[in-house]
Amino acid sequence: MINRFADPAIGKRILEEIRRFGGRATIMEVCGTHTVAIFRAGIRDGLPETVNLVSGPGCPVCVTPVETVEKAVRLSFRKNTTLFCFGDMMRVPAANGTIESAISRGASVRMMYSPMEALEHARENPQVDTILFGIGFETTIPLFASVLMRAQEEDIRNLYLLCAFKLIPPALHALLSSEDAEIDGFMLPGHVSTIIGEDAYRFLETRYRVPAVITGFEPVDILKGIAMLIQLIEKGIPEVRNEYSRFVSKQGNPKAQETIHAVFTECDASWRGLGTIPASGLALKNGFSRFDAEALVDFDIPAIPERPGCLCGEVIKGKKKPIDCKLYGTVCTPSRPIGPCMVSSEGTCAAFYKYAFVKKRGNHET
């Protein structure tokens, strides 16, 4: 039954409907996973030119400040320590290299698919301090919270968390509060939404009067989401709708939300490319403060400036496309990334570089 959402026959029909749309619309795909899914399914190639998809800040690797990555690098060099990190994060250049290159210089780092692996490692290696590099949005945050709760129950003393999580709704506030937000509608991240629920986005209707559709990740989901958004934009209906209703309810997953609130408390956070956004990050609550990795090392990290010319900040706001950046495709490529949008496999620039027909500046479609 679930496979119908990948059915190309249905997808083609919805694409036909979208192609009948005459007006112009600029839609922001908030989530990096959507950016890649849209490319991989060939949806970008199929949309009419008048529908402009711009990327958003929903790529955790892309919005983690370089100084935080540098903290992770330094922690990985600590004696009797192993850092657990998601794959993409390992290739972000920090002050003197990436987490991956730190391994070549003797650091102990393990790539993980699930934070549960770090808990198992901590349990099996009591003489080693296991540090989790905690990045991600509301989809991933409850997982880390669950892992810490289990560690608390089992009285595990050698597990730590470098806490760098970000929250999506405050980022949307920040985008829409800025001077020249030219976004006609939002494609909202389906899996973040399964946790926080449809109601978490009401402010888009009440405060900003912008239409938005919570969208899943199968090709049919994405096409349906785009079709629904176009209808709302065309009719001038500034409402939030839910395409992903099979996994997203109005209240989301209350148990996951409780788990997050049991372990973390909201705080201001710095987003690479966007600056500080109030109440957009998380910090460990007092009851879990013994898991804080920041207490392990006296960090003294100076601000690490962005490379001049790097437009990642503008790209994740949807204001510029990768092709507008002078560094894109010339000095900034996936094998030699300068900015975070090129490092992450879900970063806009990396996705464009890999999949888009317009590859480098000045090229034309085949």
Binding site: R40, A41, G42, R44, P334, S335, A356, K359, T366
Partner: protein, 340 residues
Amino acid sequence: MKHENVTLSMGAGGKLSAELVEEVFLPAYGNKICNTLDDAAELTIGKSSIAFTTDSFTVKPIFFPGGDIGTLAICGTANDLAVKGARPVAISVGFIIEDGFPMVNLKKIAASMQKAAASIGVKIVTGDTKVVGKKEADGIFINTSGIGATMPGMCISCTRAKCGDDIIITGTIADHGIAILNARQNLDFEPVIESDVAPVLPIVEAIADYGKYIHVMRDPTRGGIASVINEIAKASRVNVRLYENRLPVKKSVISCCNLFGLDPLYVPNEGKIVLFVDHRKTEDILEKIKSVPEGENATVIGKVLDTAFSQEIPPVHIETALGTRRFVPLLDSEPLPRIC
């Protein structure tokens, strides 16, 4: 100098591996034969045409569903020869073994090697063993080199793909990479997904009479079919279209790829061939491939277009299930280290 140190990504067979070869090895000892960068070198000794190849195996874990490092070591090298259109004749083996490696495992590996070699009538004729201290090698590393006699009529080269060629894959893709990943992550998948490691010589022998019409053959190991097809397209200066609907992938493999965020196009295979063939003989060649068990799931997955090749534009794209198109680029590094 572009890089200060050798990094893990350079061993992955993608763009960075190519850079390593171009930056260090070719300037040091490159020559006309070596510079073709084909899977096997073509030599003429007297009147005979010989293919010569080498490969090292660092797969982790050593034992995995469907085979072990020994099976891989023989099949990998024998297959590099077979896809060059050469019948493997003899293989050498070099072992680097860590102090303390269990003898019972070494015996198992040696037995696997003999089994694989015997299945295609190839002999292991010479070898060497080194033992290093604890933690100086991870268990066991194996190098095998092989020589083969080029079959008459075979003239395989990455540069021979032509406009109008059909592209054939001899069976399901991504099996090996996923089998290794599951075994490595100690994942409790059921049913167990097996590596497709196997000799491809029977397939090549079945189509030996069509040598004239077989332009390119490659075994799509590291980097998957996407990488070899990109390399071939670039070397031959042609553009390629693949068809998503035609790719043979096992459902369980798709499922695992989804779970790990992997694209089956880039996941390694160890018992398959990608062929570029003259489209006038596609049906005949396909029939012959399917007549041997190793090739029963062979199918056409794409074709070479007659559009102009350009260095600026990626040469390979895919027609998606929706009927739209996107590029299939050469990735810089492979997401799965120590896969073979």
